[in-house]
Amino acid sequence: MHQQPHEILDGVVRSSRAKLVAFLAAGSGDLAAAEDALSEAFATALVAWPKDGCPANPEAWLLTVARRKLIDAVRRQREIASSEELEELATSMTADPEHGFPDQRLALLFACAHPAIDPVARAPLMLQAVLGLDAAQIANAFLVSPAAMAQRLVRAKIKIRDTRIPFRVPDRDELPERLDTVLNAIYACYAEGWSEAAGADPVRMELAAEAIFMGRLLAELIPDEPEAWGLLALMLFAEARRPARRNAAGEFVPLMQQNCTQWDGQMIAEAEAALRRASGAGVIGRFQLEAAIQSAHTDGLLRGRVEWSAILRLYDALVQLTRSPVAEINRAMVLAEVDGPQAGLYALDWVRTDKRVNEYQPYWAVRANLLARAGKSDEARHAYGIAIGLEREPAVRSYLQQLCEKLRD
């Protein structure tokens, strides 16, 4: 079928945007200017292609135009830019577009998640640079005002340019630490997309898909890093269960009561493959452990028999590795399955020494659940009350209300 010029352009934007931005940004050190130049090149193409016909190599055409726009912009912006500086800029982006150009997407991800960038700006910056989402879309997904998000993004990009944050993949010795910030930023995107009720908000559902896209990209670019595969596996396990998180009436369905036939089998298979690939490296990490826990749950529910003691061992390792109160709360819930609710409650008392959990809904929901099972209805009712007060998602709130009402006196 013959494609229209704008269809070809759409295709190139989808497949090559990140690569083009990464190359231009790495060459100039200026992410904002790279994005602007590329947008101008897209606009130019929209006019030129229908008139003159599509170029044989659309990607190369766009790169050539964008590079020229970028150099023009730098010339205008730095009135005093020396001719050497401009020449240096031009050579730094010299590539023979016809024969492809270096893939700097990994360097772009590391720049966006650089430790010198405000942590709350990292995930939005990646979404914008890699996927081209605008500030308003990202603001919507992260529940902040568009103006605040735009300001956050602008500030981060100015910092990249003015303090010369490099676009490069860190050396072997600093890679683990730097990779952590990239993985966390991608996971933050996913978590934002996951928290919303299924189908309620397309932007946020898309966010989860975009996070998985970046996770796949990262794993493919650094296939030797087990945590990149671990993160991908973790996101895929969660995503595979998305259709079962709500029943037909839109009500929240907890994991243990989900209808497994609604899970996405193909996605689970991909998750298992990613996890196997990660464990092949023989280096354990936070995301691999979390993915392994998801795998054990998924597998157990599909076979109708959950191996709680195996899951508890995974949580033990996770708690030891991360010292995260969130992991400890989940571990308490699993411990209750193995040794009874009272054991889980003791574990929770220990978690409470970290004051932050007082404002964390899952802590109170788990506590309420365990208190109810231990026969302490009054205390359970109190804990459910706090959990309900802390929850922002209506479907989860009404689920907790139902549990609270079912408590026997």
Partner: protein
């Protein structure tokens, strides 16, 4: 690109040190300066007199006021600086991380606005 590393610390820490410890402290900074010089990234550095000797100026209603004391009244005071010339922020952060000031205070890294 040039970066300014400003060193902040609690001044009473220095006063509490024994003469021997103070000597070691000075030697650590000398060693750091030498390392910067031999790497060819050193531009300049200075240690400042205590903040109790600082004088601050600001204009109020068009009239310049001279005030005794430092600009920011915090526990950690500006005590010195290094000016270095390195290719990018990672290189600057890597040098800043080796600065003895990180061990007993805070080091702020700022890119220089080249004119």
């Amino acid at each position: 690109m040039q970066y300014l590393l400003t060193l902040y610390s609690d001044e009473s820490g220095w006063e509490r040190m024994t003469p021997e410890q103070q000597k070691q402290g000075v030697a650590a900074y000398q060693g750091y300066s030498e390392a910067l010089k031999s790497a060819g990234v050193y531009v300049g550095s200075n240690r400042l007199r205590p903040s109790s000797t600082a004088t601050t100026l600001r204009a109020t209603e068009g009239k310049t006021q001279v005030l005794d004391g430092p600009f920011v009244d915090s526990k950690e005071k500006l005590g010195g600086y290094y000016l270095i010339d390195v290719p990018d922020l990672d290189a600057a952060l890597s040098w800043a991380g080796r600065c003895p000031g990180v061990q007993h205070g805070t080091v702020e890294v700022r890119a220089i606005w080249s004119m």
